[in-house]
């Protein structure tokens, strides 16, 4: 028996590390594949079973960081720091979490701790130098560089220090001495400087262009540097030259969109961004740029509407948008809907007919794919202060942005009317309340969800419908514009078609928000679509009860594409004619 016990102990000692390694590998695999929810469970399991393993704690913390659950990440890593105070991997992850919180000082203290723990390591020392320079502590950075071994990136750091001190000849001498292949490292450093020190970034990218004159990434960097400095004409000049050489380079097209936004040519920006998003729909920066462009366009539009004198004969739709219409049937119909964006058009439609429901996405902008992700995550963290930031658009109106999903929510308050630190918690409270309400509505399926899109593929919309159905028996009405889709299978305006159970679609002749022109919301077309969809799924009253002051509209409601023309609903008040 003693032999058997010793045999078991022997096997156990061998098998425990193997099992731990297997579980760690599973967690790493899920994490690196971006399956963060699955990875969370795996990391937590390893951490619970082998709490003396630092990497398990770091993995759990990194996982929460990737999931945007920063407070959880911070709590986990704080516990790990108490358990393993000298573990460098733990300190590295703690630094990343401080960075995620924007706490540069805490990150700097930890990078100093890493240098103290391993003074001979050039990587830690140069990393510490980078942080000191980024914190504009130039002399401390110089001292740190002086103490560093002169290898592995020392020369580039010395050049960066000289650049900060304005010693251009020394910068050039140091860069020249870096030898062949230096442009990549210099460009990487230049990119890191672009946000806070665009002038320094530009010097480095210009140098890179001297070394490699045609390289697209260097040209992008130079354009970005000019943009950062507000030198729009210079940016445009370089951009024109760059696009001649690289006409399809996505980064240059993105830079062109940024330039268009900076110069308030929002339609041009959106044209580039929509094309780029069609190719890479998961690119978050593109989605955010598009959201910003639309919000800016809408804000500029609202300003123009407000400033413009009434022109009843020339712009009847402006009058309709501003006015209210007493129509109880329309009001009741629209209260049965909840807007899921992408923008405020449906909210304005509801307002016109006196329907003022509270809705998370009523005064919001959101991208379809990210909305689907957010709903799949149960709108995790939406409304939490740690996941939100209050921004000013065009130095005027405040809006709240969700950092994880990119939603932008109007605050309807301008700078100067309220202090940002007063408004921010209020906005978070509002959004959190609306999040709770939406989740409750989704669980009951009592409202039809409506989502308009500019140029979104059906896959994203199907994903959105799926994520809605995961919450409850929900119906999604996907509204498109015939202007944006010249698709031959588009069934015509006003027609509601069921794509799949729980997903309806319909086309308007055009959306209401137009860059450079007043809002032109197709109120009656919207009403016709909403009535048709409600009739299809809810046995709602016929459309004539809503529009009916001038004859009986003919509205096509059915499954699949119809083989006849849809009606045209007159924009001025409900009269109907058939093309």
């Amino acid at each position: 028996m003693r032999w058997l016990e010793s045999r078991r102990t022997f096997l156990g000692e061998r098998l425990v590390p193997l099992e731990r390694r297997r579980q760690l590998q599973q967690a790493f695999a899920a994490h690196h594949a971006g399956r963060y929810d699955e990875a969370a469970t795996l990391w937590d399991a390893v951490r619970a079973r082998w709490p003396d393993t630092p990497i398990a704690w770091c993995g759990s913390a990194a996982n929460r960081r990737e999931l945007g659950r920063l407070h959880e990440a911070r709590a986990i890593i704080a516990d790990a720091r108490r358990r393993f105070p000298a573990d460098l991997v733990t300190i590295t992850e703690a630094i990343r979490i401080h960075d995620a919180f924007g706490d540069a000082e805490a990150a700097l203290q930890l990078s100093a701790a890493m240098v103290r723990l391993d003074p001979s390591c050039a990587t830690w020392r140069l990393g510490h130098f980078d942080r000191l320079l980024a914190a504009d502590r130039t002399e401390d950075a110089a001292a740190a560089l002086e103490a560093s071994p002169r290898d592995g990136g020392w020369q580039l750091r010395a050049a960066l220090l000289a650049l900060r001190r304005g010693d251009r000849p020394r910068v050039r001498a140091l860069l020249d001495a870096m030898g062949a292949g230096r442009a990549d490292a210099i460009a990487e450093a230049a990119a890191g400087l672009q946000l806070r020190h665009p002038a320094e970034s530009l010097v480095l990218f210009d140098y890179c262009l001297e070394v490699e004159p045609d390289r697209a990434s260097h040209l992008r960097g130079v354009v970005g540097g000019h943009l950062g400095l507000g030198a729009h004409d210079d940016a445009a000049t370089v951009l024109d030259r760059a696009l001649e050489r690289h006409p399809d380079d996505p980064g240059l097209l993105k830079a062109r969109a940024k330039l268009a936004i900076a110069t308030e040519r929002f339609a041009d920006a959106l044209a580039d961004l929509h094309r780029l998003l069609a190719a890479t729909p998961s690119d978050r920066e593109l989605a955010e740029l598009a959201a910003h462009a639309r919000l800016a366009a809408a804000t500029a539009q609202a300003e123009r509407d407000e400033a413009a004198p009434p022109q009843p004969s020339a712009a009847p739709m402006v009058r309709q948008e501003i006015g209210h219409v007493a129509n109880d049937a329309a009001r009741e119909l629209l209260l049965g809907y909840e807007s899921l964006g992408q923008d405020c058009e449906f909210g304005l439609l509801q307002r016109r007919y006196g329907a003022e429901p509270l809705g998370l996405f009523r005064w919001n902008f959101c991208e379809t794919a990210r909305l689907a992700d957010a709903l799949s995550d149960g709108l995790d963290g939406v409304g939490a202060a740690a996941q939100s930031v209050l921004r000013l658009w065009d130095h005027q109106e405040y809006y709240l942005e969700d950092l994880r999903y990119g939603f932008t929510v109007h605050a309807w308050q301008n700078k100067g009317t309220i202090a940002a630190d007063v408004l921010f918690p209020k906005m978070c409270t509002r959004v959190a309340l609306l999040r709770r309400k939406l989740l409750e509505d989704l669980a009951s399926g009592r409202k039809i969800l409506v989502h308009k899109t500019f140029a979104t593929g059906i896959d994203d919309v199907r994903a959105l419908a799926r994520s809605l159905r995961a919450h409850g028996p929900n119906i999604l009405l996907w509204v498109r514009s015939m202007e944006h889709e010249a698709s031959p299978e588009a069934p015509g305006r006003g027609t509601v078609t069921e794509i799949e159970p729980g997903l309806l679609t319909a086309h308007l002749s055009s959306f209401g928000n137009r860059v450079g022109a007043p809002w032109q919301i197709r109120y009656d077309e919207w009403l016709a679509i909403c009535a048709a969809a409600a009739a299809l799924v809810r046995d709602a009253p016929p459309v004539s009860a809503l529009l009916g002051n001038a004859g009986q509209p003919r509205l096509d409601v059915g499954h699949g594409a119809p083989d006849h023309q849809a009606p045209v609903v007159d924009q001025h008040g409900g009269a109907v004619e058939v093309e």
Partner: protein
């Protein structure tokens, strides 16, 4: 548990804060049509302030059913067990 008077007093304070004016007469029949600027954003501020003030949470159906001030006061009374 708050009395009807407590609830009315709290609502008066909340309205004064939200609309930045102290002359709104709190009465059950008060509607958005009676107070300039009472739109969905103000409504949101009002219900958020009520939730915070009385330590309660309204359901989605309750939120959709607040057409008059009396509806809101009644929901507060019901949820707080007030008289």
């Amino acid at each position: 548990m708050p009395t009807a008077t407590d609830i009315d007093a709290a609502l008066a304070a909340i309205f004064a804060d939200v609309f930045e004016r102290g002359d709104i007469a709190i009465r059950p029949g008060l509607t958005a049509a009676d107070v300039p600027g009472w739109d969905s954003f103000r409504q949101l501020e009002i219900v958020a302030a009520c939730e915070q003030r009385f330590g309660l949470q309204f359901t989605s159906r309750e939120l959709d059913g607040f057409h008059r001030l009396g509806d809101l006061a009644e929901a507060i009374r019901r949820k707080t067990g007030g008289a």
